[in-house]
């Protein structure tokens, strides 16, 4: 298979088939927390996609250029979390300086992204799957971010309508969100047979 086909298949697979939120359970906290309104969900999705692309590429580079040649795999987790925290800090400073309006609307989300498990999770999965070239790592990071945005926006859309539904008192709030997510995960299972490698 030539490189371009592999990249496209990888992209589709990370967005739909191996969706980080609905099949790998990564980033559940913001998924439950900020999926109340669709514009907030979209903002969160964009911020996460950006940081994920940056840290996915950076951690791959550090892992392959620095840690592996020097035999320092023990430090991998510490390095990864440092890279993510600094990427978030960098994005925060950059956005605050050049796009103040955007910064206002992101507000609380940006610092929260450091502890978003989807980002660290994706870096670890790239390492676990043994991705050996930078382009695939970048495509997977962008795809992972888009998959996260897709899941959180679908969820926000459903929850806006769910407000009009009559939910049993005990299930209101988080429980019904989780059950909805379960049904959504079932739907995403339908993509599972889409690509045969």
């Amino acid at each position: 298979m030539d490189t371009l086909t592999t990249l496209i298949l990888g992209f589709i697979s990370i967005v739909l088939i191996n969706n980080l939120v609905l099949t790998k359970f990564l980033g559940i906290c913001p998924f439950l927390g900020v999926s109340g309104r669709i514009d907030m969900a979209l903002g969160m999705g964009l911020a996460v996609t950006f940081v994920m692309t940056l840290s996915g590429a950076l951690t791959w580079l550090i892992d392959h250029m620095l840690l592996m040649p020097l035999g320092l795999e023990v430090l991998r987790y510490i390095c990864f979390i440092l890279v993510i925290a600094s990427a978030v800090q960098l994005v925060e400073m950059y956005v605050r300086k050049f796009f103040p309006a955007l910064y206002e609307s992101f507000g609380i989300f940006l610092p929260l992204i450091t502890t978003n498990c989807a980002i660290l999770g994706l870096c670890l999965f790239i390492n676990l799957w043994g991705i050996d070239n930078l382009s695939t790592a970048v495509v997977l990071s962008v795809g992972g971010g888009i998959g996260f945005s897709l899941a959180i926006c679908i969820m926000a859309g459903i929850r806006e309508n769910l407000r009009l539904a009559e939910v049993p008192v005990a299930l209101r709030g988080a429980p019904i969100t989780l059950i909805t997510a379960g049904i959504l995960a079932l739907a995403f299972m339908g993509f599972a047979g889409m690509i045969k490698v």
Partner: protein, 201 residues
């Protein structure tokens, strides 16, 4: 002190009440054994990081706090990861990247922030044990429900005899899949809500 400990088990249970640490809760609860391993790992990391953070609580600067927490936690998580790889290689394979993901488990950062950076070492230890046990119990309960319904077993012990080995129970494949995790946890949260409302009356 017993109050701090018991709060973690029920009234402030990290999974059922505070909705913290959802990723591992959903991902490793396909069986009771991985759930227990994850629970014990989290207890260890939580205990160590709470002690460390409590010891250095007077040195912390506000803007570098989260970074210091993350670095402390990732050190202990690396220890757990290497330990599991060395002594429990099979279990380490099953848990996969969810062991290193303990670093971003909100329970641990949350406790460092809410408890350990403000209290003495002793209080932090008790708090870590209470929260850790509460997390483990929640994980094992959820995992047992899913394991019974999908494979008819708990910790590998047969509870419901499966049809294919001569019994009557048909395994419920969905329970072992992501969808089963979401729906079971949703229903369990509902159950906890019902119980706590009865207690209040």
């Amino acid at each position: 002190m017993p109050k701090v400990f018991l709060a973690g088990l029920w009234s402030e249970n990290p999974v059922f009440r505070l909705l913290l640490g959802m990723c591992p809760t959903l991902a490793v609860t396909t069986g009771a054994r991985p759930a227990l391993t994850m629970g014990v790992s989290v207890i260890f990391v939580l205990l160590c990081s709470n002690i460390m953070v409590s010891l250095m609580r007077n040195l912390l600067r506000p803007h570098l706090r989260i970074l210091m927490f993350a670095l402390t936690i990732s050190t202990f998580v690396t220890i757990v990861d290497l330990f599991l790889k060395a002594y429990q290689p099979e279990m380490s394979g099953v848990l996969g990247p969810y062991v290193p993901l303990i670093i971003v488990n909100c329970i641990i950062i949350g406790r460092a922030e809410a408890c350990a950076s403000r209290n003495s070492v002793f209080t932090s230890i008790v708090d870590a044990l209470g929260m850790g046990f509460g997390f483990t119990v929640a994980l094992v309960v959820l995992a047992s429900v899913r394991e019974i319904l999908s494979h008819g077993t708990v910790f590998g012990l047969e509870i419901l005899p499966l049809f294919k080995s001569g019994g009557w129970f048909h395994g419920w494949a969905m329970m072992a899949m992501p969808a089963g995790a979401f729906i079971t946890l949703g229903l369990l949260l509902g159950l906890v809500n019902v119980i706590s409302r009865h207690q209040e009356k």
